[in-house]
Symmetry: C2
Subunit: 405 residues, 2 copies
DNA sequence: AGACTTAGTTTATCCAATAGACAAAGTATT
DNA sequence: AATACTTTGTCTATTGGATAAACTAAGTCT
């Protein structure tokens, strides 16, 4: 939508700047805010007065004097409302009730046995209702629900394609909005995770961030200039289907050599197949077909084995780490992010994956890209997506105006 | 830089909107502009009055009446100034003098024999001076110079690394600004090409565009939401070093299986090596070492061969096309652009490359990404980078304010 | 106690967008 | 040709933001 400039826009922009400054750097005095933002003291005073009235900001009493009148400190009022973040996983539905700063008030989860939409809706209801009931009495109440789903989501919140759930074209947003009567944001699990890490985790204060979520597949959430990049239609980030082996393993997507076949839990199946076939080889059709089915072992089981010193398992994780590094290198060279954050269930095996991953990146990434690149694992653990989803709702509630010259 | 809102910003924004609307959709009447932008008629009148005074807009006389007073049509005055775009190639320096709408007024080029910076400066001077002298007398004169270079450029216009020129840390921007006394913009050749195609070529009106420039290497220019995406430090787009073969050919960058070893002119060397070694194989160390040197044949020579029906050459181009398609698929899945534009010297062999490229993309790209994806070859041919570079200068001159809610 | 500092508010001013009235310049109808 | 209607573009008064500067409030330092 094209936006023209008028005074309402100016006010919206400046109010958003003031709120954001207090939220991120608070507690601050009005004068601090004025100096940090460049806005006039009077402007800050007026806008904070409105924010106080809106209960989004609180005065927390006098601060330290630096040789004159004591400042009245301002703080973002994270208790002005609450949000619910939901991660719809393939086997598990997790949800958290948070305040506006991502503080967790209550969590619930339930296993997801069947994948039909009705079962999933029931599971979502099951985890959400207790949170709704436990929600504290706040000025704004529940401001929204964010959901991270394992699939592609379009701009209208329709789940276009979620292979691991067998879903196509499910209008989750409409359904949940009707059910709970609050705004709902649906996004890809990796995008939610990226938002979570960027806001509350390992990616704070990072402008250009790529979050790589490795589990049963690989997805990436890309944050460009502080904002989720969604691409032309909202499908960006399907890096799991980046081919790192032009004529490699056949993927269910129809392509070959997809990254996630080598560097996610999906790789387990190939390792299993190669254990059975002594003459195992990617070109061995039998092994490959066998492998394209789901792995029989879970990360939990395999990390136990690795901890017991099982060499083949450790070697497998080393190879997965190397392949993760190869794919990440591709993203680094193409995107030049400031930081890469790796998360998802696979990171339970971090211990055996990390060295090979870092080595591959160190050997293969372009020198200038590598030089100013930070790499870390998820700071929120298994909560990246849930907290990110909640933040998507908060972010939409608070609004944000951005100007670039 | 953080920007706060005030009336100056509002005016800048709206003026930029009015100018842009006239530039892109002109000729338009004031009323047309008002309706298209949503700005009040009076506002449009005031702003156009200033634009007329600034000579950036002209009144071209009355238009067709639709049952009332005839409108006074407004047109962007592309003759208000001129720009120079330069492409610093490895073997050739090209330059064009353009008006503010990318219309070419004069072109010059000169071969680049030696690669030391002084020789390159001399070549740039050689092509630029005649253009300066031929520049018509305009209100603003020469508004700036844009340069596309085969390497990585940082935000300050320093060429950090240009392997094909053997340059590291050359301050081209400062040097040229001192020499010509006008603002200079330096960017990667692929970024310049992307800007050119987006503004004047195959990517007009496309918000999310990836331009793939294939020549002696591969570089990409990524346009996100109408703006060049540069990454954290300005090095984004080095997709030529995306590995599409994890343990493939050894690249001079230190990595393996880099895309450009398979899908650019660099692949010629491997084809030559494999012709000589009957037992040729990527794993054959001798062949690979031999190949890592530069190819002995040029695209011009090879396309001649292909035209003559030389089967091995045609097979080589088919393979290059397939590999191009594989890499493009990776970009499409990750980026979800609206359009991919392929350009660069390699596209002279389009005839033999295109079918395999399109087939690979059709087979391998994810269905939803493919469905709304357009793919085309450069609309500006060998002028993408030169025109894009000129546009970078124009764009900086005209300024642009963007707001997102 | 008095001088100085710092925090935050009040006041007058400025400036751009806007709605609506209006003037200008056409077309359509009688 | 006269009149009614339409469309274009300008003019005028108003609105509502930000701002600088003056001012009040409330502290510290000597």
């Amino acid at each position: 939508m094209r936006v023209t400039g008028d005074q309402a826009l100016v006010k919206k922009l400046n109010k958003s700047i003031v709120l954001d400054t207090i939220r991120r750097k608070g507690p601050l005095s009005r004068t601090d805010v004025s100096e940090r933002t460049g806005l006039n003291k009077a402007t800050v005073s007026n806008l904070t007065a409105e924010l106080l009235e809106q209960k989004l900001v609180e005065e927390t009493g006098p601060g330290e004097s630096s040789g004159g009148r004591k400042p009245l400190m301002l703080l973002f009022n994270e208790a002005a409302g609450c949000a619910i973040g939901i991660e719809l996983g393939v086997t598990l539905v997790k949800a958290a009730l948070t305040d506006l700063k991502g503080g967790i008030l209550l969590e619930r989860s339930t296993p997801l046995g069947r994948h039909d939409p009705e079962s999933a809706f029931a599971a979502i209801r099951e985890v959400t209702v207790p949170l709704l009931e436990a929600a504290p009495d706040t000025p704004y109440g529940l401001i929204g629900i964010g959901v991270g789903v394992p699939g592609m989501v379009d701009e209208a919140g329709i789940i276009l394609y979620a292979p691991n759930l067998g879903w196509e074209g499910i209008g989750l947003k409409t359904r949940l909005e009707a059910e709970f009567g609050v705004p709902v944001v649906i996004d890809n699990e990796a995008n939610a995770g990226a938002a979570g890490e960027r806001e509350y985790g390992a990616g704070r204060h990072v402008r250009h961030l790529v979050y790589v979520s490795a589990g049963m597949g690989i997805g990436s959430g890309m944050i460009i200039d502080g904002q989720l990049y969604k691409g032309a239609r909202g499908y960006a980030g399907e890096t799991g289907h980046m081919s790192i082996e032009s004529d490699g393993r056949l993927c269910s997507c129809g392509s070959r050599g997809c990254w996630e076949l080598y560097a996610s839990e999906r790789a387990y199946a190939y390792a299993e197949a190669s254990e059975k076939n002594t003459a195992a080889d990617d070109k061995n059709a039998a092994a490959a077909d066998q492998a394209s089915s789901l792995p029989s072992l879970t990360t939990r089981e395999l990390t136990t084995r690795a901890r017991d010193g099982h060499e083949e398992t450790i070697a497998m994780y080393t190879e997965i780490g190397r392949r993760l590094g190869i794919g990440i290198t591709n993203l680094v060279n193409g995107f030049n992010p400031e930081k890469i954050v790796v998360g998802g269930p696979l990171t339970e095996a971090k211990e055996w994956i990390e060295p090979a991953m870092l080595e591959a990146i160190a050997e293969r990434a372009l020198p200038y890209h590598r030089r100013e690149l930070a790499i870390s694992f998820s700071g929120l653990g298994s909560r990246s997506a849930v907290l990110g989803a909640a933040h998507l709702a908060v972010s939409q509630f608070l609004g944000r105006v951005r100007v670039s010259l």
